[in-house]
Point group: C2
Chain length 347, copies 2
């Protein structure tokens, strides 16, 4: 079995020679070659919007780390910009013109994916350059997470504006969630048409919702997006960050793979989800800062906890931290492949 098929087979719950592994934010600031490309771009948004450079950073970790998948380099907020929300990045993180009223939201558009043509061109360049070496994962932010950025205008803390809208003006929230959902469905379809072989939805902030709000403001849109993408025939991965309280509900989602953070061991998570699921995760990204012996010990623990799953894709529980030594990320990939190897597995 080659690196080309390991990740896609595991997503389907098929036998693999060893556990496939990739890392969220594997293309990023911890790599000196990324820093160099970003310096050439000048700023983060230009990097995202210049397909040749975005392709370059997408590919950088593939050989350096030996991971089993590449993930498109882009940003989850670009579709919001295309919907009509001016976007910038400052020292404080992303800044958007926030939408707080139904009128604000009614003025937002569902853009044609070609308006994000630079994203699609990056996908095409990456797919061509990878030439089947490893699959390319496309992605988008999940509806509630994107709503939270649109309403807060930045990364939320208490998510007061967001929750005030859910409580006081639910019709506005639903309208925004519909437009976001339609936008990301079209974008993700276009990513697959351009060459993406799997898709991940990032729900970084879903963990701020209680079960009731999740069922009203998140689940219906996740169902809608995932169902709209199923006919594409590529594995659909849903990443829910810090959402252990939602696991009994997340088990109902029509995703092929559920990606989880490090807080709950994967075997316990599987029990709460109910049914046999393919899971992705779940090393604490801070572990990559620590000694290599400790990285290896924790990789082994996770592989043991994943032994009874329908399938397992190794990943971090959140993105690679900028202070991560690249050699530690390499050591983690090597440990997963070595310790995850099955003797006599199908090829």
């Amino acid at each position: 079995m080659s690196r080309a098929s390991r990740f896609l087979r595991a997503c389907r719950g098929l036998p693999v020679d060893t556990t496939p592994v990739w890392f969220m934010r594997q293309a990023g600031r911890y790599l000196p070659e990324y820093q160099a490309t970003r310096a050439r771009a000048g700023d983060f948004l230009t990097l995202c919007k210049t397909p040749e450079l975005a392709c370059e950073v997408t590919l950088q970790p593939v050989d350096r780390l030996g991971v089993d998948a590449a993930i498109l380099f882009s940003d989850i907020l670009l579709p919001l910009e295309a919907m009509g929300l001016p976007l910038s990045f400052t020292e404080q993180g992303p800044q958007l013109e926030p939408v707080r009223s139904e009128a604000d939201i009614a003025a937002l558009r569902v853009p044609d994916p070609e308006e994000l043509g630079f994203v699609l061109e990056t996908v095409r360049l990456c797919a061509r350059a990878l030439a089947g070496q490893v699959p390319l994962i496309g992605f988008a932010g999940a509806p509630f997470t994107l709503l939270s950025y649109a309403v807060e205008g930045k990364t939320g803390k208490q998510f007061e504006h967001t929750k005030r809208m859910l409580l006081s003006c639910p019709a506005a929230a639903h309208l925004l969630l519909e437009r976001i959902s339609d936008t990301i469905v079209a974008l993700l379809r276009a990513q697959v048409a351009a060459g993406a072989q799997a898709l991940q939805l990032f729900d970084s902030w879903i963990g701020v919702l209680g079960q009731e709000d999740y069922q009203v403001f998140a689940e219906p849109y996740l169902q809608r997006v995932l169902m709209a993408l199923r006919s594409l025939g590529v594995p659909l991965i849903y990443f829910a960050h810090h959402a252990a309280a939602l696991l009994p509900l997340l088990g109902r989602l029509p995703a092929d793979v559920l990606a989880l953070d490090w807080r709950l061991p994967l075997d316990q998570a599987a029990a709460l989800l109910g049914g046999r699921r393919v899971l992705q995760g779940n090393l604490d990204p801070c572990v990559l800062l620590g000694p290599v012996a400790e990285i290896e010990r924790r990789v082994r623990t996770i592989l043991d906890q994943a032994a009874g799953l329908a399938g397992h894709v190794f990943n971090l529980g959140h993105g690679v931290l900028p202070s991560t030594p690249p050699a530690h990320a390499q050591a983690a990939v090597e440990a997963v492949h070595r310790l995850g190897a099955r003797t006599g597995a199908a090829t």
Copy 2:
């Protein structure tokens, strides 16, 4: 039954006439009378360190809201200052001189509680002023949460410095956790001697730990602190924020009451904790921003979910937000008392 006994009886799992209620940060910025007292103090630390003023703000919400307990107005970081870490508050929140090495930590002291005499004097003034009207709750930060502030030097985001210490220098982490534990045990004993009738440990950041790290770096110190306080004979409340993944482990803690955030319904939390427990919680503080009808509906839902518990103290799942209308907080208290009333309950 009077307001005087409702809260303490519920903490013990004894019958009550209606569900007792108090709110974390019930003394705080959302109240104009708090703003006035703080303006007289000049700054936040002076307010904390001036017993007459700290007592004044402790008492303000008791009559205004009709809550069933008062909680000492203070800050969880003051014991770290007394241990030898210079503390200030800026626009960005609390700032401490961070400790990162074993040598830094070895230089920290376990202060005599009298070095926090202003806290104890505040407790005495409050206990005298309340005159048994409602009980006074004392508190401290839990060991891991205080460690995270000491090591990060501020409110953490990814808690990189903290986790790097746990992974790379566990002996330093254990030394710091021991000193913090000894400091808060002595302080909480002194708070009870000064008149506190219940104690709460705030573990605001425990939810960043996975189960393994919790068992190594948090649980032993929580056990130690709680066991050291049991002989005081006052109810011990442990608040774990955003920690649904730890619930199977939290059930082992020798606390009288477990206080939880809003993410998991209390009946589901009780099932994960195992055994019959008294729980405190768990309204999303953002709900107090919304319409009063919605507040009442959500109060009713929580009371229904709590119906089968060994006991229930109503609270928010986190602190009152500064933008909360005081009338909404009042409405929530009134709804809890009205909807939580038992007919024919013991008095």
